[in-house]
């Protein structure tokens, strides 16, 4: 896909996420919207995985460590043909549904269950280490939240990734600067992420994380980097793409009313038309 095609896809995915959450009446919309470019660049350009190679041992692995932002992942997997989009739209979070509010590997395309923050990076380290042990070509990607970085277990994974020199591993930090209780800098300061990861031996790339061309280039760079894992610090906007949600902590998991839904959809359509 070209950069413009990826940008259009990002608009479509955002519209799907907004619709899914509006229908279900629940979901973590803020963090869904900030991670869209990273997931779109991965799933429509870089990841070697598809419904056809789901059990291929050489498929690339993706771990959504900030599991509450599952709606974006669901919408992308549905669009990629892993499961029926109508089933997702009709049953998400409903009684008896297999689509719950966090990743679950009973769902095709999902590798690992998450939702409890602070696990995903070490899981990804394990996957990447296995790839090295068996000489397999696959790559491993994990997306973390910046609030999530307060979990000590994240830094055990950072340490191990650097120690094992896992150049087949790429971590993303969705640096939207917000978590549930407000600004990360007020809750538990996370600034100078770049220096923190570099101190553990990682290749660090810090980019505008809602700029899909920048994300695409950073992933390409990570693939070429040898001898160390790469972290891509995605400087993003929580709620990106819907003006009334952007940079507001309440939109972590607030639900839109009908009017807000219409406004959001109109804004996203307008953005797409302008591309």
């Amino acid at each position: 896909m070209t950069i413009t095609e990826l940008e259009r896809k990002a608009c479509d995915i955002r519209a799907d996420v907004v619709t899914l959450i509006h229908k279900a009446g629940c979901g973590h919309i803020g963090g869904d919207m900030s991670e869209v470019e990273a997931l779109v660049a991965l799933y429509y350009k870089h990841l070697n995985c598809s419904p056809e190679n789901e059990s291929d041992p050489d498929r690339d692995r993706f771990v959504l460590s900030k599991g509450h932002s599952v709606e974006t992942l669901y919408c992308i997997l549905a669009d990629r043909g892993y499961f029926d989009k109508a089933e997702l739209m009709d049953t998400y979070s409903a009684y008896g549904s297999r689509f719950i509010g966090h990743p679950n590997n009973k769902i095709p395309g999902i590798e690992m269950n998450s939702g409890s923050l602070g696990h995903g990076l070490s899981v990804a380290v394990g996957m990447a280490k296995a790839g090295k042990m068996d000489g397999r070509p696959y790559r491993v990607y994990a997306v973390l939240g910046d609030g999530e970085l307060a979990e000590g277990s994240v830094w055990e994974g950072v340490m191990a990734g650097g120690h094992f020199k896992l150049d087949n591993l790429t971590a993303f930090v969705d640096r939207n600067r917000l978590q549930i209780s407000g600004s990360t800098e007020d809750v538990m300061a996370q600034d100078e992420q770049e220096r923190r990861w570099a101190a553990f031996g990682w290749n660090v790339v810090s980019i505008p994380g809602n700029d899909i061309a920048a994300v695409d280039a950073a992933i390409s760079l990570a693939k070429e980097t040898k001898g160390k894992p790469t972290v891509i610090i995605l400087n993003t906007t929580k709620g990106k793409g819907v003006s009334f949600m952007e940079n507001l902590a309440v939109w972590h998991h607030k639900v839109m009313n009908d009017e807000q839904y219409e406004t959001a959809m109109a804004e996203l359509a307008e953005r797409k038309a302008g591309l």
């Binding site: 629940c26 599991g67 509450h68 979070s93 409903a94 009684y95 008896g96 549904s97 297999r98 689509f99 719950i100 509010g101 966090h102 679950n104 269950n113 998450s114 939702g115 409890s116 923050l117 602070g118 609030g147 999530e148 307060a150 979990e151 000590g152 978590q179 549930i180 209780s181 007020d186 809750v187 538990m188």
Partner: protein, 308 residues
């Protein structure tokens, strides 16, 4: 039923903390979900935010207790009772620190968020730690009495409350409460129902429905899951049939604790209504309770079958 139990805890803590500057509340990006925002806003000098770090939350609380503070660590019950388990074991219980742990949005309150967010093993995990106490209050009135009693003592304890406001079991001004003694809500000779937490109300409603059919049930509110009130269990055993009801898995839960007492001291039939040994069905609390027969209708049905 307007006030959620967690809100009651916050109200009591605010009242006490204004008089006692050693009372400290700790949160892990959980002040909103824990209803602790008013405390954080009004008493910022007695509030500590640790970020999304439940292990550090509990260890820091223990350190504060060592230095004479009276900490209440507030975090989702799911993470407190699994992620922080070793901190609870070593830093609170084993080191004998006066740390109170408030597990919020307990049981299946988080509904469709799934197993990572459900705390259905906390009686087993926290309760099995020597020196830890476990309390599952049933309604807002009992939660208030319990919170006052716990803040007045100096031993560590874990309290689990649900996410939403629940129906009242007791009435304003009529709240029988003796610390570590179960509350007998109703006495009957045909069958006994022992419940804890949010399911006490369902047990009470089931007993009311049974009474209309001429069946008299004893209903026991075992808010003090540990230390379990053995005398209350023995009293229940006199009916010959006990149903236990809990928002928890079977292994290591209320039912198994009750059965240990009856097996040793007063053998009788003990049937355990609980959550399955698998992730629970997707749904809100009401749907999940109904699905597994833990609501009033399910309890009544089990009682009728047992007494057939």
């Amino acid at each position: 039923m307007a006030t959620a139990n967690k809100q009651v805890v916050c109200n009591v803590l605010m009242e006490l903390a204004k008089e006692d500057k050693d009372i400290v509340v700790l949160c892990s990006d959980s002040r909103g979900s824990g209803s602790m925002t008013p405390f954080a806003d009004e008493l910022p000098g007695q509030f500590i935010e640790v970020g999304i770090a439940e292990q550090s939350l509990v260890s820091m609380a223990a350190g504060l207790a060592n230095a004479g503070k009276k900490p209440m660590a507030v975090s989702p019950a799911s993470f407190l009772s699994t992620r922080s388990m070793e901190q609870v074991k070593v830093d609170c219980a084993y080191s004998h620190m006066n740390v109170k742990l408030l597990g919020i949005s307990g049981g299946v309150s988080y509904g469709a968020l799934g197993m990572t967010h459900h705390s259905t093993t906390d009686i087993a995990t926290i309760g099995s730690i020597p020196g830890m106490r476990v309390y599952f209050p049933s309604d807002r009135f009992q939660t208030e009495k319990l919170t006052r009693a716990l803040m007045a003592d100096t031993e560590p304890a874990y309290i689990r409350v649900g996410r939403n406001a629940v129906e009242d079991v007791y009435e304003e001004g009529k709240v029988p409460f003796e610390m570590d003694k179960a509350t007998v809500i109703r006495e009957g000779r045909d069958i006994a129902i022992i419940a804890c937490g949010e399911l006490v109300w369902h047990a009470m409603k089931a007993a009311e429905a049974l009474a209309e059919k001429g069946i008299e049930a004893t209903v026991i509110d075992m808010y003090c899951v540990k230390p379990l009130d053995r005398e209350a269990v023995l009293k229940a055993a006199q009916t010959g049939t006990i149903i236990t009801v809990e928002e928890h898995v079977a292994i290591g839960g209320l039912g198994s604790m009750v059965a240990q007492v009856t097996a040793a001291e007063a053998p009788c039939r003990v049937v355990n209504l609980c959550l399955p040994d698998s992730p629970v069905v997707t749904g809100n609390s009401k749907q999940v309770f109904a699905h597994y027969g833990l609501d009033a209708a399910g309890i009544e049905k089990t009682a009728l079958e047992l007494l057939k």
